[in-house]
């Protein structure tokens, strides 16, 4: 098993009384596409800056390709960063920006220029080398920032929310191109974002962070299916979070006061049952392993291809996702039965 490309171990960083990072441990393999996902203030940018070398952690180590870099200044680390605001040098042409890295590493003017041209071609900006950054559109500037970072062929590329300034359509297009480029170049990408859809579509593995800690690390699908904490369950996709207790081998839910057996239950105590809206059945099929409960429809929102139905079941509010057309009897105020399969319930600690 080859050693990991990036190994972060026990990393912690405080700003005054605020713990921005608490005991972060993470390993990233060569050529992987990792997304670091979390809400604002969760520490993802702090983590990135520690890896890049702009911040010194209070504790912990960072190793790249086996070598300790924790206290090395940024210009000695074998990685490159794409900044959220691109940080293109305004007084230099696009080509000079991209050639900057090679020049600082001792390449001749000619070699650096050739490498720059190659990198610009890779990101689809051939021929724009003579322009100044401010003459380019946002999307083009983003590509220049990317070209500038990859021209050095680093093993590791850090990207700090690089697509956040782009409009939706452009963002989708660039996401695909980035993924393709990453594959083509074989560079490991560490991609910070707060957009979970972006993380799930692009990454091989997703790191979910909250409050300076890693909540969960895994493939997008694994995180969606089996969130380990209620934060992850709520942050990724839509979810119904049902409070409950495990008592004497049964799961008690406030939802219509149900008592369920036959589940893989942790010992005892307070739990949260995660139920995805698409797994709320309306109407419920009468079958084994399907639980039903009476509910009242609060609201129906039709969004073209599907509809979101909000119901009150007992004391609890449920969101239900219905594909296609919604049956006519499902209207505001209607009283009906809803259900779910037991096996679609996923339990996490409260």
């Amino acid at each position: 098993m080859p050693e990991p490309l990036l190994e972060i171990s026990g990393l912690s960083k405080r700003f005054g009384a605020h713990a921005a990072l608490s005991d972060i441990t993470l390993a990233i393999e060569q050529g992987e596409f990792i997304a670091v996902l979390g809400p604002s203030g969760c520490g993802k940018t702090t983590l990135l800056r520690c890896v890049a070398g702009f911040l010194t952690p209070d504790a912990g180590t960072i190793r790249i390709a086996g070598a300790q870099v924790t206290h090395l200044p940024p210009y000695r680390r074998p990685l490159n960063t794409v900044f959220q605001s691109y940080a293109l040098f305004p007084h230099m042409s696009v080509a000079a920006n991209v050639a900057y890295g090679p020049r600082r590493h001792g390449a001749s003017r000619r070699d650096a220029a050739a490498a720059a041209e190659e990198a610009l071609a890779l990101v689809g900006l051939s021929g724009l080398g003579a322009r100044l950054p401010r003459e380019l559109s946002g999307g083009q500037q983003q590509r220049v920032a990317l070209a500038r970072a990859i021209v050095n062929r680093p093993k590791l590329l850090l990207l700090d929310e690089p697509l956040s300034a782009l409009d939706l359509k452009l963002r989708r297009k660039v996401q695909l191109e980035l993924k393709h480029l990453q594959h083509q170049l074989g560079i490991a990408f560490v991609f910070v974002t707060h957009d979970q859809e972006e993380a799930m579509t692009m990454a091989d593995r997703v790191v979910v962070m909250n409050g300076g800690r890693i909540e969960q690390l895994g493939t997008g699908e694994a995180i969606y299916r089996a969130p380990r904490t209620s934060f992850v369950a709520g942050f990724i996709g839509e979810a119904n979070l049902l409070a409950g207790r495990v008592r004497a081998g049964r799961l008690e839910l406030a939802l219509g006061n149900l008592s369920l057996a036959g589940l893989d239950l942790p010992g005892s105590g307070a739990v949260v049952a995660v139920l995805r809206p698409e797994n709320v059945l309306l109407p419920p099929a009468a079958a084994e392993g399907v639980v039903t409960a009476p509910a009242v429809v609060d609201d129906v929102i039709r969004v073209g291809s599907h509809a979101l139905v909000t119901l009150t079941c007992g004391e609890v509010s449920l969101a239900c996702r219905v594909s296609g057309a919604v049956p006519a009897h499902v209207a505001e105020g209607a009283q009906l039965l809803v259900g779910f399969r037991l096996r679609d319930l996923h339990l996490v600690e409260a």
Partner: protein, 277 residues
């Protein structure tokens, strides 16, 4: 959008009239005087005098030399001081105190500041005392009445302008750009050389032009520190109006200084444009 002419006239009227009467008109009078002679005929004799007179070339050259050396000195002292204030000082109160120390001289009259240097640079002044006391010289040096003395005084007066101009430009340099530079492999000195310094250049150049302009047109400081031995351009102008009352020659000198000033400003504007800033 054309606003009603009447409203504009009403708002601008007073200022424009005042300036026409007490700024443009006097300048016009001077310009006319510069191209007429004592009998009222059109004559370029005054300008010819400036161009042909050896003495004036000497004065011009002296003025220019003092101006250039003063400007160079303010650049060399001003950049490090600006860097210190913007980049090195961490304690906000100390920075404020430093800026106060920088600006208080600006709010004091030229005469007061120049007088301070008259006291310091005299034969028995603090500077000579210190030099003799440190064993660097045996007998007091003469500073008053030398170009060096004038330059010391002018640098003192003009340093704050340079520091503020450079400081402003330095403060505007996006720290992210320097981080990007480091990220791409540039050592701190390479980052300064290729990123920070070029980006501070507009402030440095604006400061340079301003200091040079003020240095070549300065009157009070050179007048007081020249000890009667050195003449600069503004003193020449002053003589024509204050004692010799030759308004034609004085006019020609004034217009010449004016043209020089405007040329410097135009040059600065061109350079600013060429850099795309």
């Amino acid at each position: 959008m054309r606003a009603p002419l009447r409203k504009i006239l009403l708002l601008l009227g007073a200022a424009v009239l005042f300036f026409a009467a007490f700024f443009l008109a006097p300048m016009l009078v001077v310009a006319i005087a510069s191209v007429t002679d004592a009998d009222g005929n059109v004559s370029f004799a005054s300008y010819a005098r400036i161009l042909l007179d050896r003495y004036h070339w000497d004065v011009l050259w002296t003025t220019f030399r003092i101006g250039a050396l003063t400007t160079a000195a303010t650049m060399l002292i001003g950049y490090p001081l600006a860097w210190y204030l913007v980049r090195i000082v961490r304690f906000a109160h100390w920075r404020r105190a430093c800026i106060i120390m920088l600006v208080v001289p600006l709010f004091t009259s030229n005469i007061v500041r120049s007088f301070g240097w008259m006291v310091l640079l005299g034969r028995n002044g603090l500077v000579n005392d210190a030099l003799v006391g440190a064993g660097l010289i045996e007998r007091p040096l003469r500073f008053l009445g030398t170009e060096l003395g004038i330059e010391i005084g002018l640098v003192y007066i003009l340093l704050p302008f340079m520091v503020l101009s450079i400081g402003n430009a330095l403060a505007k340099v996006d720290p992210l750009l320097e981080q990007a530079s480091a990220d791409l492999g540039a050592s701190p000195s390479a980052t300064f050389r290729t990123i920070t310094f070029p980006l501070s250049l507009p402030g440095l150049m604006a400061g340079t032009v301003m200091v040079f302009m003020l240095a070549v047109s300065a009157y009070v400081t050179p007048a007081l520190l020249s000890g009667g031995r050195i003449t600069v351009f503004s003193m020449l102008i002053f003589q024509q109006y204050g004692s010799l009352f030759d308004f034609h020659y004085g006019g020609a000198l004034s217009i010449t200084m004016l043209v020089l000033t405007l040329a410097l400003i135009a040059l600065a504007a061109r350079i600013g444009e060429a850099r795309g800033i």
